[in-house]
């Protein structure tokens, strides 16, 4: 069941190759429709699930039909955080979450136009890079003191700041938005700033994050707290109902705490766990989270969560072809951010998984081969 008209699809290209028109819509689909048909799976698209009635084990749909379930999986994802500010309803102010949003925005990305991106996170920066490639004049406004502050350390933030500035994108940090100015016919003409200034705009993209979509679960009385609460087997409080992906806050065995993750890897791995649970196999979810972002010719691959680190070790330098930042806590590698250095990402994945204590000098030393830092095979 999905409320969009499309079969399940990959979202990462919506801010990258799909936005620039380099790949077609079908290439986004997780599987072609024929795979579902051949497996005897029915896809009901363009229909919204309105309500779950747990007493009768039925769901009510927006087309007035009802459906009985033995087991139910909620994969409702997230919805966009909206900016509440004067002028936020003007034409030309865009958000990016689904195929339709990406297609509407793509039409607007015409060389010479002025795009203002509100929010310097993954999505905002990926769109900035895609638009820049199209010859659009881009300004990125970030309220925090550095880019991608929530997800990475200062070295990576600084690298991407330089990268965008070097490409001709006007990146402004410590810049809070207060509202939007109206031009002709209800169309946005500019973005007003807390310091009193205005940035002229033909197009605006607001990318300030997402909120887990829990309304359906809440309505059914399932415990939710910044996500639908699930255990390590993706079960909600009701054993007949599972939940996976961005909409969940799950018991994470690796971090030994409740964790919400916005990532493809988490969605895919939780789906595998849910499939096992449904088949009566108990396969707890204990994956180390990982993420990636492509901007210009830069591939950023990240593994682990760096927030609570007490030491950073940089291997290589931003002037090199690739470099990486290792985040340690009490001598143990807890996260790695690798820029154009997939080997550091993969070695990091093993180090994080194994909670390895490692001599920081070895991580930093270019004469120590990265591969020599891991013993044994990568976990499959």
């Amino acid at each position: 069941m999905g409320n969009e008209p499309h079969p399940p699809y990959q979202r990462p290209p919506l801010s990258k190759n799909y936005l620039t028109g380099d790949v077609d819509q079908e290439s986004l689909y997780l599987k072609p429709r024929s795979v579902y048909e051949n497996a005897g799976h029915q896809l009901r698209l363009g229909v919204r699930v309105e309500q779950i009635d747990r007493d009768s084990s039925t769901i009510s749909l927006s087309d007035q039909s009802r459906l009985q379930y033995d087991r139910l999986v909620l994969a409702t994802g997230s919805h966009l955080r909206h900016l509440n500010a004067p002028g936020a309803d003007l034409n030309g102010i865009h958000y990016l979450h689904d195929i339709a949003d990406s297609e509407v925005l793509r039409e607007q990305l015409v060389a010479g136009k002025r795009l203002v991106v509100v929010g310097g996170g993954y999505i905002g920066l990926e769109v900035a890079a895609s638009a820049n490639k199209k010859g659009v004049n881009v300004t990125v406004l970030e309220a925090a003191e550095r880019l991608m502050q929530r997800v990475t350390g200062p070295e990576i933030s600084a690298f991407f700041y330089d990268k965008h500035r070097g490409a001709g994108v006007d990146v402004r940090l410590n810049t809070a938005v207060t509202g939007f100015e109206e031009g002709d016919q209800g169309h946005v003409a500019g973005v007003t700033l807390a310091d009193g200034g205005t940035v002229p705009a033909d197009i605006v993209l607001v990318s300030i994050g997402v909120i887990p979509e829990t309304a359906l679960a809440k309505g059914a009385g399932l415990p939710c707290d910044n996500g639908i609460i699930v255990d390590e087997f993706t079960r909600t409080e009701d054993p007949a109902i599972l939940a996976i992906g961005d909409c969940t806050r799950h018991r994470n065995l690796f971090f030994e705490k409740m964790q919400r993750l916005e990532s493809v890897a988490n969605a895919v791995d939780q789906a595998r766990t849910a499939a096992a649970t449904l088949m009566g196999e108990e396969k707890p979810y204990d994956s180390v989270p990982w993420f990636w972002s492509n901007q210009y010719d830069v591939r950023l691959q990240m593994v682990g969560l760096s927030q609570n680190h007490d030491q950073r070790v940089v291997r290589g330098s931003p002037e090199d072809k690739g470099f990486a930042v290792f985040y340690l806590r009490e001598g143990c590698v807890i996260a790695v951010d690798a820029v154009n250095l997939p080997l550091a990402f993969l070695v990091g994945k093993t180090l994080v998984q194994q909670r390895r204590t490692i001599n920081p000098e070895l991580l930093e030393d270019p004469d120590t081969e990265l591969k020599s830092l891991v013993n044994g095979r990568l976990q499959s």
Binding site: L28, W292, P342, L378
Partner: protein, 106 residues
């Protein structure tokens, strides 16, 4: 149109059809062939679409690029003709190709 044969680690064979321009990962996923995950959707970020090209076809697929090489270098089942399926774009010349799948993806 062309065909690629995928041989799983347990020797089970699958044949997938392709149109030139698709990647080896894409046609494997589209044909629901077990043993190829393609978690990142073909952005060369995850390393879960490792295939081992049979020797006689390796000249057609070519060798891995620098970043792909780094991804492959950490795979325990790395062979001299290993590629990431998402980075092999199929051409009409690859009609009839056979690739082997590793026991585990990363």
């Amino acid at each position: 149109m062309g065909k690629v044969t995928f041989i799983e680690h347990d020797q089970t064979e699958h044949v997938a059809e392709f149109k030139a321009g698709s990647s080896v990962m894409q046609i494997a996923v589209d044909s629901a062939i077990p043993g190829i995950d393609g978690d990142c959707g073909g952005e060369c970020a995850c390393g879960t679409c490792h295939v081992i090209v049979t020797n006689e076809w390796f000249s057609k697929t070519g060798t891995p690029g620098n970043e792909e090489e780094q991804m492959l270098s950490m795979t325990p089942e790395r062979a001299s003709t290993s590629r990431l399926g998402c980075q092999v774009v199929l051409t009409d010349e690859m009609d009839g190709m056979t690739v082997h799948l590793p026991e585990f993806q990363m």
